[in-house]
């Protein structure tokens, strides 16, 4: 039986096999990172809140910070049988919600997206698609059957961002 899991702030969720759905509701300045291994159908999502971890602290949720979230979710996925070399990523979020009366210091969204992109590059995971920035909050969903990523904003329909499980394309086989 598939599961439908919500990925709250700072949380990491990893599932294996078809029929599962991972959802991050209402991403504001946070960034939702989806990772997918098409062969084993190990799917993961992490809900990143801030760009950099505070080294002085212990017992932190690694998923809270971009620099610790990516290594932590990759490890969780490898434990479930994923292979790092097959992982592909899509990200959404990092908006600047407060449009009225704002000072720029509130724009943690842009810094979050940038930090996530750097962390993915350092982990050697290709970023297939991104929907970041702007001023609208997003709900992000990952369907484990084929790595389909859908994004919804207020006043908009759910739209497809990427299909991370396109094995033919990823392995270079002609369709």
């Amino acid at each position: 039986m598939g599961v439908n899991l919500t990925v709250g702030m700072g949380e990491i969720q990893v599932v294996r096999g078809a029929g599962n759905v991972l959802t991050a509701l209402g991403l504001g300045s946070c960034v939702g990172v989806c990772l997918y291994d098409p062969l084993t159908r190990v799917a993961g999502m992490v809900h990143v809140v801030l760009p950099k971890s505070q080294a002085s602290k212990t017992g932190e949720l690694p998923g809270k910070f971009a620099d610790t979230a990516i290594p932590a979710i990759v490890q969780r996925m490898v434990e479930q049988g994923a292979n790092v070399s097959r992982l592909k990523a899509a990200i959404a979020g990092g908006a600047q919600l407060f449009q009225f009366g704002v000072s720029s210091s509130l724009d943690v969204g842009a810094r979050n997206a940038e930090a996530v992109i750097i962390a993915l590059r350092e982990a050697g995971i290709p970023l297939q698609a991104k929907d970041v920035g702007g001023s609208a909050g997003r709900t992000l969903r990952l369907i484990s059957d084929n790595g389909l990523i859908v994004v919804r904003t207020i006043g908009g329909a759910e739209r497809e961002l990427a299909v991370l499980g396109n094995i033919l394309a990823s392995s270079g086989v002609a369709a």
Binding site: G8, L25, G26, F98, L106, V108, R138
Partner: protein, 203 residues
């Protein structure tokens, strides 16, 4: 850094926080009631310590479109205050204040709503200051129109010292005709709750 994890608070301490929140929200809701000449009611405040991932659950529907007015609190209890109104309520509030039956959410209505947030938070903080003899000051407001959960998460990301758990004091406000409904959420920075409890001899 907090000396002890804030989720270690006792039920008596949470009761005291609810009572203080009740005093503050009583003043804030009567300030709103005076402003728009309507009866405004409040629910019993929630005071909980939850993993930050569960914080949007204080809202009935984190995906609902809302107008969120966010103000920072400085002074002895630094924290983050957010009034989250559903969009229809926000329209009505701004409309009543501006003397117009129908308004859209533009710069003018936003500034009216931010002023409402400012007046309510000032009333809330003054009541808590009077009760605890602590100094709490509001910063200028900012506003967004978006999913309530997204607004709350953007506020949480703005905390200076983000623990894995956070104390949340949340109160629903509404009017008897069901025209206005919203939630007030106060997120103190770690350490702020101890200061409130110590001030009332429950630390």
């Amino acid at each position: 850094m907090s000396a002890q994890p804030e989720y270690a608070f006792s039920e008596e301490q949470f009761d005291a926080l609810r009572e203080i929140a009740n005093i503050g929200m009583g003043k804030a809701s009567s300030a709103l009631a005076d402003l728009i000449n309507t009866t405004i009611l409040i629910n019993v405040p929630q005071a909980v310590c939850v993993p930050i991932g569960n914080l949007p659950d204080v809202l009935r529907d984190p995906e609902q479109i809302t107008a969120g007015i966010y103000l920072q609190v400085t002074g002895d209890v630094p924290g983050h205050a957010t009034f989250i109104f559903d969009v229809q309520s926000a329209h009505r509030l701004a409309g009543v204040l501006l003397g117009m039956p129908e308004v859209s959410l533009d710069e003018v209505t936003a500034s009216a709503l931010m002023e409402i947030g400012n007046i309510m938070l000032s009333a809330y903080l003054t009541a808590i200051s009077d009760f605890t003899a602590l100094q709490l000051l509001p910063s200028p407001p900012v506003m967004a129109v978006d999913m309530g959960g997204a607004i709350l998460s953007a506020v949480i990301a703005n905390m200076r010292d983000l623990d894995d758990f956070a104390v949340t004091i949340a109160t629903d406000i509404y009017d008897p005709d069901g025209l206005i409904s919203g939630t007030f959420v106060f997120l103190p920075e770690p350490g702020g709750i101890q200061r409130i409890l110590q001030a009332i001899g429950m630390g």
